[in-house]
């Protein structure tokens, strides 16, 4: 028998095994582990707290539906989860016909730093967010996965269904394009 503390320390694949055998607590652990990072990933893409909350909840509903029925084992659950999140964000924009999410200035977290520093950071964050929103979807995804969510090259490649070489090229192009947008300084488009 395993207690809750031990359960929390189990790697994803062990938790998935337990989930397949009907252990609901294992799903609770996965939820706890990934809710915050997925929320942040989605928030960066949609820029609204309420939408990010709803969409994050939806990710876990979809995950539950997909996981509690028999299926082939997953090699990288984290990558799979981000892929679900990406699809949900894409569908969200498709359904709401939004193409240019404007990032809310009040949404970025304020820390204990000086007001000057906070304003400076906020401006940078907002500029980046606006510039990323103007990139083509694949560039947006690679930037968000790699530099906002901190996923590895391999995980990002898996999420995007690319091989690692293509991912590297895409990453380079996305960064170059983003840099060019930021240097132009015209992000109001």
């Amino acid at each position: 028998m395993i207690n809750m503390e031990q359960l929390k320390d189990l790697p994803d694949n062990e938790l998935l095994e337990r989930l397949r055998l009907g252990d609901t607590a294992a799903f609770g652990c996965l939820y706890d582990r990934y809710f915050d990072p997925l929320y942040k990933y989605i928030f960066f893409r949609v820029s609204s707290k309420a939408e990010a909350e709803d969409l994050t909840e939806e990710v876990f509903l979809k995950t539950w539906e997909a996981l509690h029925v028999p299926r082939a084992p997953m090699i990288n659950f984290r990558a799979w989860l981000y892929r679900v999140a990406h699809n949900i964000v894409v569908d969200h924009y498709r359904a709401s016909k939004k193409t240019d999410p404007l990032h809310q200035s009040s949404s970025f977290r304020e820390t204990g730093e000086s007001m000057e520093k906070i304003v400076e950071k906020k401006q940078t964050a907002e500029e980046i967010a606006r510039a990323v929103a103007q990139l083509e979807p694949r560039f947006q995804q690679v930037i968000t996965c790699r530099f906002i969510s901190g996923l590895s090259h391999a995980e990002t490649a898996e999420i995007m269904g690319l091989n690692i070489n293509n991912l590297r090229v895409l990453q380079y192009r996305a960064l170059r394009k983003l840099n060019s947008l930021l240097n132009k300084g015209d992000l109001s488009k």
């Binding site: 979809k62 029925v69 359904a95 530099f147 990453q171």
Partner: protein, 388 residues
């Protein structure tokens, strides 16, 4: 050059991610590409420093509560379903050794068939952590698997009662590490039992049975409550006990409501999934969002004797009267900020939660899903669920 620069950029990023090197040092390694690399690396550093807000812990807990309600309806799997999945996923994929508990159950079943009922009988007194405990659980699963719908609810309640006995025994022996999982199992079986009873044809439940169910659950609350008086029991364990008591109260309330006739308020309380809070403080989702009034839960405290020889526990006094426990107050501003450890499950509560279950289709797509509550609506749109 551009063919190579993506590789150089990737290498540089990996070096920075791994730490131990500064951008300037890195650029010295690639003098030819440094002009192009420099702004890109600065940009990635700026992006990594972006601080994004964390989700509202109340929302996180409420979302888990909604999800748990849904999950609990589908749990637990029957013994045969578990066995089937084990066969499908473990044996066929040669991961036999990764399922020691299930292997143990299979061995136990084999031994039962070889040795007759002796092992089963011997396992009757087993508690979590004992060698024969998996046999006890397996036998229960078999009984549930072959039970008719009418008998299922009663069986679940009977097994929930066993869990209470096991909790007492575990505490008596000081084996606290198994208590939490046992209380969770208790909550689950109790919820399933009540759900099953409510779904059964009400005409087939005699008033005598209904009274027995009521008394049984009330008894659980009192017996579990006696554990809270024990000084030697760690606070973390007491939290689990309080959670189990809260779940039992919720089940009892549900049962009584159904006895009183149809419930007009189908959007009744939904527990906020914060297992770190004590049950008496656990607000409902509606309360957390300031839209609902609290529900006083009259609890019948029956005359009972403790089922275990816990010496420190004062024997509950015989009080064959109805008492009303302290009313939970709805103060949304005081809704505890959950520290989101939702793996300690909340008791499932029937809510007016329209749920259209999405079904993953062969091509990896899923149909739309909706999970909404009175106060919060999850966005549900057609979404592709990838096949990993």
């Amino acid at each position: 050059m551009s063919e190579k620069i993506d590789l150089i950029l990737a290498e540089a990023l990996i070096a920075l991610e791994n730490g131990g090197i500064e951008v300037d040092q890195l650029l010295e390694r690639y003098p030819e590409q440094s002009a192009e690399l420099s702004p890109l690396l600065a940009l990635t550093a700026a992006m990594r420093s972006v601080e994004l807000p964390s989700p509202d812990p109340r929302f996180k807990a409420a979302a888990w509560a909604r999800m748990y309600n849904r999950i609990s309806v589908e749990q637990p799997l029957s013994f045969w379903e578990r066995l089937r999945r084990f066969w499908q996923y473990s044996i066929l994929q040669f991961t036999f050794t990764r399922q020691p508990a299930i292997v143990l159950i299979l061995i136990a079943i084999f031994l039962i068939s070889m040795l007759g009922g002796g092992t089963v009988y011997a396992s009757g007194g087993a508690i979590p952590g004992d060698f024969l405990y998996p046999v006890k659980v397996a036998v229960e699963d078999v009984r549930l698997a072959i039970a008719t719908k009418q008998l299922e609810g009663g069986l679940y309640l009977k097994f929930a009662e066993r869990r209470v006995g096991e909790v007492l025994a575990l505490i008596d022996l000081g084996r606290y590490e198994e208590v939490e999982s046992t209380t969770l199992k208790f909550e689950q079986q109790l919820a399933l039992g009540v759900e099953s009873i409510l779904q059964a044809d009400q005409d087939e439940i005699s008033p005598k049975d209904a009274a027995a169910y009521d008394e049984s659950i009330s008894e659980h609350i009192v017996v579990l409550g006696s554990i809270l008086d024990l000084d030697r029991v760690p606070e973390t364990i007491k939290k689990s006990i309080r959670g189990a008591m809260s779940a039992a109260s919720a089940s009892l309330e549900k049962l009584r409501r159904s006895e009183d006739g149809p419930d007009d308020n189908l959007e009744g309380p939904v527990p906020l999934g914060d297992p770190t809070q004590t049950p008496t403080q656990r607000p409902t989702l509606a309360q957390a969002e300031g839209t609902s009034s609290p529900t006083a839960l009259p609890t019948l405290i029956p005359t009972i004797e403790p089922k275990s020889a816990i010496t420190e526990a004062p024997a509950p006094t015989a009080t064959p009267t109805k008492t009303v426990p302290p009313t939970r107050t709805a103060t949304p501003t005081e809704a505890p900020a959950p520290t989101a450890t939702p793996t300690i499950t909340v008791p499932p509560t029937r809510t007016a939660t329209p749920v259209d279950t999405a079904t993953p289709t062969d091509d990896g797509k899923t149909l739309p899903t909706q999970a909404s509550t009175a106060a919060h609506t999850a966005v549900a749109k057609p979404t592709s669920t990838p096949k990993p």
